[in-house]
C-alpha cells in the first residue's frame, strides 16, 4: 500500500514540470524599456503569395492587444505610409526610427517578415503553412527588445499537443472565424500570428501594462 502515494507524488511532480518553461529568453532590455504602445509595420513578404503581408497584418492586433499593449490602428498606419508615398514594406522597414517616432509616437516598433504563406500540394495531402519571424525594437534608442519566430500548418489541426496552451486557444479562435472566412491560408496566418505575438507563447513577448499578467517595475 506504500506504493500508490509515491506514484501519485511522481505524477504530481511530472505534471508540475510540464507547466514549467525551460531555457528562458533574456528579457533584460525588454524589462528596462517597458513599452506601452507598439506600431506594427507592414510585414515584408518573402513568400510567393502577394496576399501574405496584409493577411498577416490584419491579424496582429489581437495577440498584441490581449497581451496588454496599445497597438496602433494597423490600417490607419498603413494609410499614413501610403499618403507619404511609402507602399513597399521593405522601404518602410528601412525608415529611420526618429521618422517613425515623429509620426506615430509609439514606444516600440514590430518588424515582421513572412517566409512561408500558402499551400503546397503533396501526393496524398496538402499542407497550408504560414511561417513568420518578428523583432520588437525600442523606437527611442533602437535597442532590440525581443525576437521570435513561429509557424502553423493545416496538417497539425487535429493534434492538440502541438501548440500547447496557445495552440488550444488558437484552435478555438479559428473555429470561431472558420464560418465567416473561407481563405485557409488567412486562417493559418491567424494561428501563426497568435503563436508569434502572444505573451503566452513560449519565449514570447512579456505581458504589457494593460494585461492582468503585467509585472510592473
Amino acid at each position: 500500500m506504500m506504493r500508490s502515494p509515491i506514484l501519485l507524488l511522481i505524477g504530481l511532480v511530472s505534471l508540475l514540470a510540464g507547466c514549467a518553461t525551460p531555457t528562458p529568453y533574456d528579457y533584460s532590455a525588454f524589462r528596462e524599456s517597458k513599452p506601452r504602445s507598439i506600431v506594427v509595420l507592414p510585414p515584408v513578404n518573402r513568400s510567393l503569395d502577394v496576399k501574405a503581408s496584409y493577411s498577416f497584418l490584419s491579424q496582429v492586433t489581437y495577440p498584441l492587444a490581449e497581451s496588454g499593449y496599445y497597438v496602433l490602428p494597423v490600417a490607419v498606419v498603413d494609410e499614413t505610409f501610403r499618403e507619404n508615398g511609402l507602399v513597399n514594406p521593405e522601404d518602410i522597414h528601412g525608415l529611420p526610427l526618429d521618422k517613425l517616432n515623429e509620426v506615430f509616437g509609439a514606444d516600440a516598433a514590430m518588424y515582421i517578415t513572412i517566409t512561408q504563406y500558402g499551400t503546397s500540394y503533396q501526393l496524398l495531402a496538402s499542407d497550408t503553412r504560414v511561417t513568420a519571424e518578428a523583432s520588437l525594437v525600442d523606437t527611442r534608442n533602437g535597442q532590440l527588445l525581443w525576437k521570435g519566430a513561429a509557424t502553423a500548418s493545416s496538417t497539425e489541426q487535429n493534434s492538440s499537443s502541438n501548440g500547447g496552451l496557445v495552440g488550444l486557444l488558437v484552435q478555438a479562435l479559428v473555429e470561431q472565424i472558420a464560418n465567416t472566412i473561407s481563405d485557409r491560408s488567412h486562417q493559418i496566418a491567424g494561428i501563426t500570428s497568435n503563436r508569434l505575438l502572444s505573451d503566452r507563447a513560449f519565449n514570447g513577448i512579456l505581458p504589457g501594462p494593460r494585461s492582468p499578467r503585467y509585472v510592473g517595475q
Binding site: L12, S37, S58, A65, Y70, V74, V76, V77, D78
Partner: protein, 118 residues
C-alpha cells in the same frame, strides 16, 4: 488510506486545472480584425457595410460592458473620413485618444494633417 488517495486525486485535478486556466479576453473582438482585412483586400469594398458592422460591434461592446480593442475607433474614424463624414471621423479619433491615451501622439498627427489639407 482511501482518504489519502482521494486528497491526492483532488490535488492532481487542481494542478491540472491550473495549467489550462484561460482568462477572459480584454476586448470585444467581433468586427475589428475582419474589417481591417476587408479594408486591405479591396478599395472597392462596401464602406457603408463595414461602417455598419463596426458600429454594431461598438454598440454590442457597450451593452455588455466589454471594451473595444485598441485602434477600432480610429479605424472607424478613417472609414468615416473616407466617406466624407468628417465631423464623425473627428469624434472617433477623439474617442480613441480618450480611451487609449497611448494613441495621443498619432491621433494628434492625424488631426493636424487633416486641418492642414486644402
Amino acid at each position: 488510506m482511501n482518504k489519502i488517495k482521494f486528497t491526492g486525486l483532488l490535488l492532481l485535478a487542481g494542478v491540472a486545472a491550473g495549467c489550462v486556466h484561460t482568462p477572459p479576453s480584454l476586448y470585444q473582438w467581433d468586427a475589428y480584425q475582419p474589417s481591417v482585412y476587408t479594408h486591405f483586400q479591396a478599395d472597392t469594398a462596401n464602406l457603408a457595410q463595414q461602417i455598419d458592422l463596426l458600429e454594431q460591434a461598438i454598440d454590442k461592446a457597450a451593452a455588455t460592458g466589454v471594451s473595444v480593442p485598441p485602434g477600432m475607433h480610429a479605424h472607424l474614424g478613417m472609414l468615416y473620413y473616407n466617406t466624407g463624414r468628417e465631423p464623425d471621423a473627428l469624434a472617433q479619433f477623439a474617442l480613441e485618444k480618450s480611451l487609449f491615451p497611448e494613441s495621443s501622439h498619432f491621433m494628434d498627427y492625424i488631426l493636424k494633417a487633416q486641418k492642414d489639407m486644402p
